[in-house]
């Protein structure tokens, strides 16, 4: 069975903002403010097409519009379906470059650094000065 994300936009909006609301104190946007439903989630679902069916099946178990206690409704899906939804919503949210800039996350960079050997040697010499950290044992084979 194939699913069309456009058929789920209303559900996705309330579910996404329930999981990731805005935080004015830190200046972090909600999921919908960040563009999860229309811009980021389609990218995430394309990257993880293996998870898309379980994501949509879980969404179908939720009401079209947000219930009175939306978090309770999502949790009532059970751990597996909750994870299917939460992982993809959060995964989509963190695809946004502006959000990662706010968090100071540059992605997994390629770093080309040279060790400071002076610092390394000073550090390990302190450990070595504390002495041997293994048990001496008889060298001959014991009973086997």
């Amino acid at each position: 069975m194939t699913y069309n994300i456009d058929d789920f936009q209303t559900r996705i909006a309330w579910v996404a903002d329930t999981l990731i609301p805005s935080d004015p104190k830190s200046g972090m946007p909600s999921a919908t403010e960040a563009g999860v439903p229309d811009r980021l989630l389609p990218r995430a679902l394309k990257e993880r097409d293996d998870l898309a069916p379980s994501f949509f099946r879980a969404l179908l178990r939720l009401p079209e519009t947000g219930p009175k206690d939306p978090m309770d409704a999502i949790r009532a899906l059970g751990a597996d379906d909750f994870h299917s939804i939460a992982f993809l919503i959060a995964g989509a949210y963190f695809l946004d470059e502006a959000i990662n800039r706010k968090l100071r996350y540059p992605g997994q960079e390629a770093l080309h650094e040279t060790p400071d050997y002076d610092e390394l040697m000073e550090t390990i010499e302190r450990v070595q000065s504390r002495g041997q950290v293994y048990l001496d044992v008889p060298d001959s084979p014991g009973p086997v």
């Binding site: 992605g107 960079e109 293994y134 048990l135 044992v137 008889p138 009973p143 086997v144």
Partner: protein, 552 residues
């Protein structure tokens, strides 16, 4: 029944193209022996990696997930874990689990070979540290081990061939904390190249080691060994699910029967020597499935120990939150540092043996709301979401606590006759319960690691005592020893029952130690291979294979 009439008879048939199989194939081929290796999977498809972009966290667990029951790749086989505290992790393909290992590299300590002598429990090994040491040194060069030599947690002589990674802010916190505590600490040793070496490129600390190395720096044997093996003439047969090791009327191994997973055809591959390197699950699975009228309880199983004594290094974490922002998402991942302060039995504790601690990176923002290493992630959503990310991302570290697992015959691998893989071979069932010794050991080490976290400046510390999906190290299920009544193979991996059948993987380890086992497993494979070379003129071989070789 097979449907091939005249296969080539090789000197050596190897089952499994992982670290031990690759080490053996390379060394035996260097001596001019003809070698064929049958691998149930294929080469990893590194084009599927997305590690350089923001998609990394979202996609890392897709093709390169470590749990075969979740990954469900065509080469995987079902594993019944309903009666197990821990789920086994592995990669089934060329490179074996070196594709997914974190590449933290260690030797065992001298006392790990003498647990019975030192502690009066479990067993001694049929060899000692000094006997394995030269082979450790050779595989450490082949596996591009980087780090700092001179660790006082080992006898003198553990020299690391490649230079270390730089110290970062995270490592410095714990170095000074352990100075104050008077505890051991050491920069991470990893089989990750820091300079160009043995077909590997220098690591750029991408931090994606356990999901397939994007940058060609981690020593997985598809990169370090198989190119050389192929040049030496080793025949590597991919997508070959080996169903049985066959024996002739003389009781010796004559070869193996396998299914080509692409064509569905069954073949018999004869050989003068058979080496099984299919890991601590796959190896007992194959031996148990090779039962016949002559050995109804499975091949090489007169001791009844094939599949028994499963050990998996129970694993917990201690997580700390810090006020300052520091780079905690880059590699190596891998271990950035480790402590062996509590790795051996101490007089003041109520348990035997100990644990290794490894200082690990935390990943990016998505990991900060995930279950690893935080345990449950059910309370991080909604109003807690941003505060959780702010507290954890860039402001956290964890000690991974790897507990020595002691052998018990109640912990075992058996065939699951109710379930088969796609080729009709019985699946495996694991029965495994962490012992009271393990739980006491973890409790103690988690408490000490919490002290370490606080001393390093953590304002909040949490712990996860026994994590379920942590069975990277699958050990002990075909144990070695000198007595055929109490062991399956001898100190060179040779079956006591079938003298041209060798086992080379973690399944032969009589005890587990507390450290990552690939160094030990590959050193044993190299030692065993040298013994095969030395004894090749005297090696008994199956008359069935010999007859095929001369065309009878």
């Amino acid at each position: 029944m097979t449907n091939e009439s005249r296969p080539t008879v090789y000197d050596v048939v190897i089952v499994g193209a992982g670290p031990s199989g690759a080490v053996a194939a390379k060394r035996l081929a260097q001596e001019g022996m003809s070698v064929v290796c049958l691998e149930q999977g294929s080469y990893p498809d590194y084009t599927k990696l997305r590690h350089s972009g923001l998609e990394f966290e979202l996609t890392k667990q897709q093709y390169f997930a470590a749990n075969p029951n979740r990954r469900k790749a065509p080469a995987d086989y079902p594993i019944n874990v309903s009666d197990s505290d821990i789920e086994p992790l592995m990669w089934n393909g060329v490179g074996g689990s070196s594709i997914l290992y974190a590449a933290a590299w260690h030797r065992l300590k001298p006392s790990d070979f003498r647990v019975r002598t030192v502690d009066g429990i479990a067993d001694d090994w049929p060899l000692n540290y000094a006997e394995l040491e030269p082979f450790y040194a050779r595989v450490e060069n082949d596996f591009a081990v980087s780090g700092v030599g001179g660790d006082p947690a080992y006898p003198p002589g553990f020299d690391i061939p490649l230079p270390p990674f730089p110290l970062g802010a995270m490592e410095r916190k714990f170095a000074t904390a352990h100075d104050r505590l008077g505890w051991h600490w050491w920069p991470g040793s990893n089989s990750i190249a820091t300079v160009k070496h043995n077909g590997l490129l220098p690591c750029v600390r991408r931090g994606a080691c356990v999901w397939g190395c994007f940058d060609g720096a981690k020593a997985s044997v598809d990169r370090t060994h198989w190119p050389t093996c192929i040049k030496l003439g080793v025949k590597l047969v991919q997508n070959a699910r080996v169903l049985r090791v066959e024996t002739g009327s003389d009781g010796l191994a004559a070869g193996v029967t396998y299914v080509d997973r692409v064509t569905g055809r069954t073949h018999f591959q004869p050989g003068r020597i058979v080496i099984v390197s299919a890991n601590g699950l796959g190896t007992p699975r194959l031996l148990l499935n090779s039962s016949s009228n002559d050995h109804p309880n499975g091949l090489a199983n007169s001791s009844g120990l094939v599949g028994k004594r499963l050990m998996m290094h129970p694993y917990g974490t201690v997580n700390g939150l810090f006020d300052d922002f520091f780079e905690n998402w880059q590699g190596p991942y891998g271990q950035r540092a480790y402590s062996l302060e509590f790795a051996e039995t101490r007089k003041e504790t109520n348990f035997y043996r100990g644990a290794k601690w490894q200082l690990m990176g935390m990943g990016g923002p998505l990991a900060s709301v995930g279950a690893w290493p935080w345990g449950s992630n059910s309370d991080v959503w909604g109003e807690s979401f941003h505060a959780t990310v702010r507290k954890r991302f860039g402001r956290s570290a964890y000690w991974g606590i790897m507990a020595e697992d002691l052998p018990s015959e109640d912990n075992m691998v058996s065939l699951d006759p109710a379930v088969t893989d796609a080729e009709g071979m019985p699946a495996v069932k694991i029965t495994y319960k962490a012992s009271q010794n393990t739980m006491d050991l973890l409790d103690f080490n988690l408490a000490r690691a919490a002290e370490s976290m606080k001393e390093a400046g953590a304002y909040e510390v949490s712990g996860t005592p026994l994590m379920r999906e942590t069975g990277w190290h699958i050990l002990g299920t075909v144990r070695m020893g000198n007595d055929p009544r109490t062991s399956v193979v001898d100190s060179y991996g040779r079956s006591h029952d079938v003298s041209n059948l060798f086992i080379m993987d973690g399944s032969v380890m009589p005890t587990s130690g507390a450290v990552n086992p690939t160094g030990t497993v590959t050193a044993l494979a190299l030692r065993n291979s040298e013994a095969i070379i030395k004894n090749r003129r005297l090696q008994p071989v199956s008359s069935t294979a010999e007859a095929l070789k001369v065309g009878l």
